[in-house]
Every structure is written in C-alpha cells, then in structure tokens.
C-alpha cells in the first residue's frame, strides 16, 4: 500500500460526534471505537460519558475515572503509521455543578460542605433539566475550547465523542437547552444554553445511532431519527452493531434454505480439509446453518428497514471473544475503513 492522501471520511467538519442507541446495542463500544478511529495522524480526541457507568474505564481496562480529562489510549495509526491520542472524561452532574458554582460564584470549599444538606443532589436529580444542562454544558466547553485552553495545562481537541444517553432519551437530553422552562431566563446559564443549542444544531455536530438487526432496536432507531429531525438536530449515520458472520454466500444460503444441500459434496470437502467426518457431522453443520439462515432472513429484513432511512450506514461484527482494548482497535479499523472516521 502506497502512502497517499488520507481517504476522506463521510463527516468532515464534524467536531462533536454524539453516539446514541437502544440499551444493549453496544453504544459505548461504538463510541470508544469511533474515538480511537478519529484519533489518527496526531489528532487528539476526547471521549466523554455522562451516565455514571464507568463504561470507558471498563472497556480500556483501567481504574474508575475521576472528573478529569485523562489520556487513556493511543489512537489508530494512519497510512504513514502516525497515531493520535484519546483522552477520556467521566462527567458526573454533581462535579459539574460544583465546578460551575466554583467558577461563577467562587464557592469552592463552602459548596462542598453544603452537599450535606443535599443541595447538590437536589439540583442534579430533582430540579428537572438542570442535570442535562450541566452535562451538555460541560461537553460544549470541551468542544469550543479555544486554542491554548482557558486554564493552564488544558488540551484542545480536534474532535469530541459523546457516549450519550439512549435513543429513548436523546432528544430530551440534547434539546434541554432550548426549553429552559422554569430555568433562568437571563444570566450565565441562559447565555450558555443558547450557544450550546447553536452548536448542537450546526454541521459541526452529528448524532449517530447504534442499532442491532432486531425489530425493536431498528424501530427505535427509526423513531429516533424522526425525532431528531423534528428537533432540528443533525442526524449522522447508523451503525449496525453485533452483526453475525456473513459466512455463507447468497447462493449457499439459498441452498440451505431450500434443503438442496449436497451432503456428499460437503463430506468430500471435509475430508479434503482433513476433518474427521463422522455420521452426524455433516447433518449437524447443515442444521446449524439452517438456524443461521432463518436468523439471517430476519436480519436482512431489518437491514432493509435501516437502509430505507437514507442515512450512511456502517456495520460492525459481533466479536465472539467480547470487548477488550484489542477488540476496540479492531473495530476502530473497520470504522475507518468504512468512512465513519
């Protein structure tokens, strides 16, 4: 392979990649892989999580993360072998509120002590919307940070990947800044809220939806896309995750379904491959393939529904060994190859 100009990805100009998806579709895995994929050619990418799960720490096999930007992995190498860096940030609303109060109201230690009265807990869990305003505000700050940062030692990022709440909640989460019902109509929070909405609705943001090839997740993806569009939020691509091996060609699938498979042909091939062919082996393999064919049909139907949404689609395989740092690198490579990064 000759070193040539880096192939263009599908999302030039996007600086904030929001990754959502139904629970169980592997949204966090995709977000982490996307961050690795984007962190190429010396670029610096920030991967954020906002649901308190410490999913990032688990995937990268490190200790639970504090509320602090921390380098967590080397990014994917480009054609010349040059990689970038991925930093991680675990955003919890309590810390974000404390930081906000410290910044604007110089509270610091006194603020911490007041946590005893449940003030912080109240503001972040009970006062509706405040939590999401704080979380999106923090992400906004990381995206819009000026070169050189605001404080000493702060890094500026070429891209931010947000491991966001699930599809059922994503519009409410992203849209909170536009409906400050009851929240301050003036002041620093209002000004910031307007700017956050401006960023979220601009071409510098893309909301990608992760799904698997099953009815409910695909339905939710479709509903999610419609909701996002109605809210004026930019829909990115759909990542179809946990795809089972497509090991059979269409004609092979057809012969399995039609039961026109030739057992003698298979037996001789198995012998050629030096496999001990016993009585039931061929039958078992074909039966397993039949199970797969049934599944495959349903999956292909769901695939068509996803394609009908008319947005760029990417596919990632289910890795039988599960997710570890090595698996993330593999998935990152596949995402780069397909153009998501």
């Amino acid at each position: 392979m000759t070193a040539r100009a880096e192939r263009l990805d599908d999302w030039p100009g996007v600086r904030l990649h929001v990754v959502t998806g139904k629970g169980g579709t592997g949204k966090s895995t995709v977000a982490a892989s996307l961050a690795l994929a984007l962190a190429t050619s010396g670029r610096r990418v920030l991967l954020c999580e906002v649901e308190g799960r410490q999913g990032i720490a688990r995937m990268f096999d490190v200790d639970p993360l504090p509320y602090e930007e921390r380098r967590i992995a080397k990014g994917a190498p480009d054609a010349t072998g040059r990689a970038g860096q991925v930093h991680a940030l675990h955003i919890d609303p309590e810390s974000a509120l404390m930081e906000y109060l410290a910044m604007y109201y110089k509270l610091g230690r006194a603020g911490k002590a007041l946590d005893r009265f449940g003030v912080i807990d109240f503001a972040t869990t009970i006062a509706p919307g405040v939590r999401d305003v704080l979380l999106t505000g923090k992400v906004y700050e990381a995206v819009q940070r000026p070169r050189g940062g605001r404080q000493a030692g702060q890094i500026t990022y070429d891209a931010v990947v947000l491991d966001a709440p699930p599809t059922g909640r994503i519009c409410q989460f992203l849209g909170v800044n536009s409906e400050l019902a009851g929240l301050a109509k003036v002041g620093p929070i209002k000004t910031q809220a307007d700017k956050v909405m401006e960023l979220l609705r601009s071409p510098r943001t893309a909301v990608h939806l992760v799904t698997i090839l099953e009815e409910m997740p695909v339905q939710e993806t479709s509903d999610g896309i419609a909701e996002l569009r109605a809210a004026g939020l930019p829909v990115g691509g759909v990542v179809v995750n946990l795809v089972r091996p497509q090991a059979l060609s269409p004609s092979a699938l057809a012969s399995v379904r039609d039961d026109t498979v030739d057992p003698t042909g298979i037996t001789s091939e198995l012998s050629r491959a030096r496999v001990d062919v016993d009585a039931g082996l061929v039958e078992s393999l074909v039966a397993e393939a039949r199970d797969h064919a049934v599944r495959r049909q349903l999956e292909d139907e769901q695939r068509e529904l996803v394609a009908a949404e008319g947005v760029p689609t990417y596919e990632l395989p289910r890795l039988p060994g599960g997710i570890d740092p090595g698996a993330l690198v593999e998935l990152a490579g596949l995402l780069r190859h397909q153009g998501l990064a």
Partner: protein
C-alpha cells in the same frame, strides 16, 4: 448450579408478588409478561404491571392505551381456572391519583396545576420507580380487599442501574419529606445557622441557576403540599415492607453478557443485604449450543485449508459459522460460570434466544415453555 423451578414458584399459592428486576435491554418486560401468562394458564388470577412493552406486544395484550387500570387480556386459556389482567404504568397519573387521594380537592388542584409539580411528576429520575412501587401497593391492597387477583407480577423501569428500583423511591420520598425543601426556602435555623453565610450564597446561586420562577413555584408547591409530605414517605415505606414480606419473590433477569450479569450480581447482593426474598436468576437470550463436538480451532483450520481451493466454498462457510457458534457459546458459558462461582446458591433458569421478537401471546407461551423446560 441449582435450577430455578419456575412452575413451582408460580403454582405456590403463598407467592403473591413476583418482581422482575435487572438491567435494561435484557427482556424484563417480555419475561414478566411470559411469567404472568403462564401463571394464569396454570390457574392463578394474575395481574401484570408493565412499564414499557413493545408496541406490538402491548397491542396483543390489549394495553396499548394508557389508562392506568388493569384490563383483561383476551385469548388466555382459562381451563385451569385462572385469568390474566394487564396494565401499563402511567407514572404521572399515578402520582396525580396519590395527590388527589391525600389532599382536599382545592389543594389537589393547586398542586396538580403547579409547574414544578408537573415537571417533577413526569421527568424526575426516580418518579417512575416510586410510582411503580406505589401502583404495586395499590394493586396489593385491592387484591386483599376483593380477591380479584392472587398474584401480582411486576416489571421494573429500564433504568441505568438495576438497583434504581430500590433506591430511587427513597430519593423522592426524602425530597417530598420536606426537610430539604424547607431548609432551602426558609431562613436558616438551628444547626444550619452555622452555615448561614455559605448557605445563602448557594441559594442565591441556585436562584440564578434555576431561576426565580422555579423557586417561587416550589414555594407554592411546598405550601400546598404541606400535609402530604409525611404521607408520601409512609406509603413508600409500606410498599418497601411489602417487598420484604414472605409472599414476595424477586426474579433477577439478565443476559449472558458482562454488563447484564454485573447488574444482576449487584442486585443479588443487595437483596441478600436487605433481607429480600430472591427466587432466582433468569438468563435470557442464551445462544444455541453447538450440535457437534468439532472444536472452533479445528473448524477454522479446516475452513482455511478449503479457502485455498475455492473461495465460495459452502463447506468453508459452514465451518466458519460453526466456529463462531462455538466461540460465542464458550464465552457465554464462561460468564455464567463466573457468576455462579460468586453466587453458588442462586437458582437459575436459562432461556434460549428466540429467532424473532415476541409480539403476541404465542410468543409469550414459548418463553414460558422454555423457562419451565430446564435440565
């Protein structure tokens, strides 16, 4: 690993409540419905409280329209003398009902119209969990009073953590208890006086953050809600006590995936700590086992040998599929063994993944069959 005998659990007349808990995305709602249907077709008079059933399943059960009341499910086999009613939780309406039952009509109106209450009752993290418990309490009281049901099956909200079902109601209760609200809105008194200076700076800050209107709405809300505070906590405590009672059984639902089993482990440990009755674990979506003993490595090696001959070889494809199947099964087994090693006494039932989504009673029956058909 002890086996969970689902039929024994459902047939036992002393089991009055079955609560299905677990992480989101593992098939909790479907399993709750399947358990409820099976119990009904085995002779129990069941009501199932669901939280967010899939559209088509909700249609099949006749509960697509939210009205917060159990409705009979049609086409249930009543041969054994049982019946099934179903409902979807409407958390806002449940909250409104509690307010109306506790306050005078004028006070109730004031509260229900209050913007802070409106937001609190529909989007506060924890309201859904609290209201699920509240509804359970209501259904139980009713069942005792008129014998309409002898078994309540409860689905739990799809929250970030399985433990939210137990923790979240406490948050709402202590907020509605008023101690904090009063502290926030009234001049500091008592021990708080020591913190006065810092405290009022924070309240000023929060006023700016939340807006003066929100705090005004809260004041109105507090004034109107005054006598209801204690009542809310009391109700929550009563339902919590119900969860600890002998007639209750918790079924923890998981899938053979690390996150789901981790949540299940947390939940199992918590039930033990809180002295709550755990019936067992249901592992959903288990991959089908291999039909032949050929190892994954052998299969891949063989497939590679064939590839050099004919790249579209059907046989190579069969071998690769088989290898994938074996690897997946091995991993799932490993995860389940790890759970069992840490929790050796938890009775378990494994349900194979269904080829397609469940969206009618026949699908639920198939799950029920799987649950009872354990080796």
């Amino acid at each position: 690993m002890p086996v969970l005998d689902v039929d024994a659990l459902l047939d036992d007349r002393s089991t009055e409540i079955v609560v299905c808990c677990g992480a989101g995305g593992v098939g909790k709602t479907t399993t709750s419905a399947a358990l409820a249907l099976r119990a009904a077709e085995r002779g129990r008079k069941v009501v199932v409280l669901t939280i967010d059933p899939a559209r088509r399943l909700a249609q099949a059960m006749g509960i697509e329209h939210l009205d917060n009341t159990p409705r009979p499910v049609l086409s249930v086999d009543a041969g054994a003398g049982g019946s099934l009613d179903a409902m979807m939780l409407d958390m806002k309406r449940t909250f409104d009902e509690v307010v109306e039952s506790q306050a005078s009509p004028e006070k109730a109106r004031q509260i229900l119209d209050n913007p802070f209450y409106v937001a609190l009752s529909s989007s506060f993290a924890g309201t859904q969990e609290y209201m699920a418990m509240e509804k359970l309490g209501q259904l139980h009281r009713q069942a005792l009073a008129d014998g309409s049901h002898d078994l309540i099956v409860v689905d739990t909200p799809p929250s970030r953590s399985a433990l939210d079902f137990l923790d979240a109601p406490e948050r709402l209760s202590s907020f509605l208890d008023g101690r904090f609200i009063r502290l926030l809105l009234a001049p500091a008194r008592g021990p708080a006086r020591l913190m006065t200076a810092g405290f009022s700076v924070v309240t000023n800050a929060l006023t700016k953050v939340l807006g003066a209107q929100v705090l005004r709405d809260m004041q109105t809300f507090v004034a109107a809600f005054d006598t209801l505070f204690g009542g809310f906590r009391q109700r929550a405590e009563q339902t919590f006590a119900l969860l600890q009672a002998d007639g209750t059984a918790f079924v923890v639902i998981a899938a053979p995936e690390p996150d789901a089993l981790r949540e299940a482990a947390y939940f199992v440990d918590r039930l033990t700590d809180d002295d709550m009755p755990l019936a067992g674990l249901v592992v959903n979506r288990a991959s089908p086992s291999a039909r032949t003993e050929l190892s994954a490595e052998e299969a891949i090696t063989a497939a590679d040998r064939l590839r050099s001959g004919d790249s579209s070889s059907l046989t190579a494809g069969l071998l690769r599929l088989h290898a994938d199947r074996v690897r997946v099964i091995e991993r799932e087994q490993h995860l389940r063994e790890r759970f069992a090693a840490a929790h050796p006494h938890v009775p378990t039932a494994v349900v194979p993944a269904m080829a397609s989504d469940v969206h009618d009673l026949d699908g639920l029956r198939a799950i029920g069959e799987s649950l009872s058909r354990q080796e």
